[in-house]
């Protein structure tokens, strides 16, 4: 039962990443692209945790944590660059 459910979740998140990628490429506005990239980071965290669960290993959580932090920092950096023309003033 868990196997089937995790396969379904894998499929859902993979499709979600593809939709995000499409949005990153075709979005007309820069705010939309930043938003799509941020969503892609969150979906990547979910995929990593799912993969760690499927393999039964605890190593992937550190990776997921790092991706979560990088995602937050990079989104804020992009937004600040658009807002101020500078990241650290």
């Amino acid at each position: 039962m868990i196997e089937t459910a995790s396969q379904l979740a894998f499929g859902c998140f993979a499709l979600a990443v593809l939709l995000n990628l499409w949005k990153v490429m075709t979005a007309p506005e820069i705010a939309d692209r930043i938003l799509a990239l941020d969503t892609m980071f969150i979906n990547a965290i979910a995929l990593m945790v799912l993969y760690g669960m499927a393999l039964g290993s605890a190593i992937f959580f550190e990776g997921a944590m790092i991706i979560a932090m990088l995602g937050f920092v990079s989104t804020v950096a992009y937004a600040r660059f658009i807002l101020r023309g500078n990241i650290i003033e």
């Binding site: 039962m1 868990i2 089937t4 459910a5 995790s6 379904l8 979740a9 894998f10 499929g11 859902c12 998140f13 499709l15 979600a16 990443v17 939709l19 995000n20 499409w22 949005k23 506005e29 820069i30 705010a31 939309d32 930043i34 938003l35 799509a36 941020d38 969503t39 969150i42 979906n43 965290i45 979910a46 945790v49 799912l50 760690g52 669960m53 039964g56 605890a58 959580f61 550190e62 997921a64 944590m65 979560a68 932090m69 937050f72 989104t75 804020v76 937004a79 600040r80 658009i82 807002l83």
Partner: protein
Amino acid sequence: MASLFEFLVAAFLVMAGIFGLVGSYGLIKLNDPMSRLHAPTKATTLGVGGVLLASMLNAAAFGKYFSVHELLITLFLFLTAPITANFIAKVHIHRQESRETMPSAGEDDHWATHDTPEDEEQRNAGRPDAAQ
């Protein structure tokens, strides 16, 4: 008892997958840029929360280890998602809106993000101490 945990983990996984997909689909489907902000920041965060809960339950019930790392990631995501959304909304106001389309800024003439160097000069014109 084992089958109850199995059912719970599977339910969390299915729920998480559906929420994640809905969040990303909403990013494409919704028309207004500011309603597009809702889909990923709420639904996708919930989706990841579901995966992390399922992983934690799975490790505790069937794995060899018990870990609360997932709670750390959940906490971090729940803390940072509103900040990210706020920054993206600010970018939208900065790039897409103008002084005419924004609501009143109260006692000020306009919102700070639409301020220009000329406005600042004008404000500082009567104040000799504000040379910089």
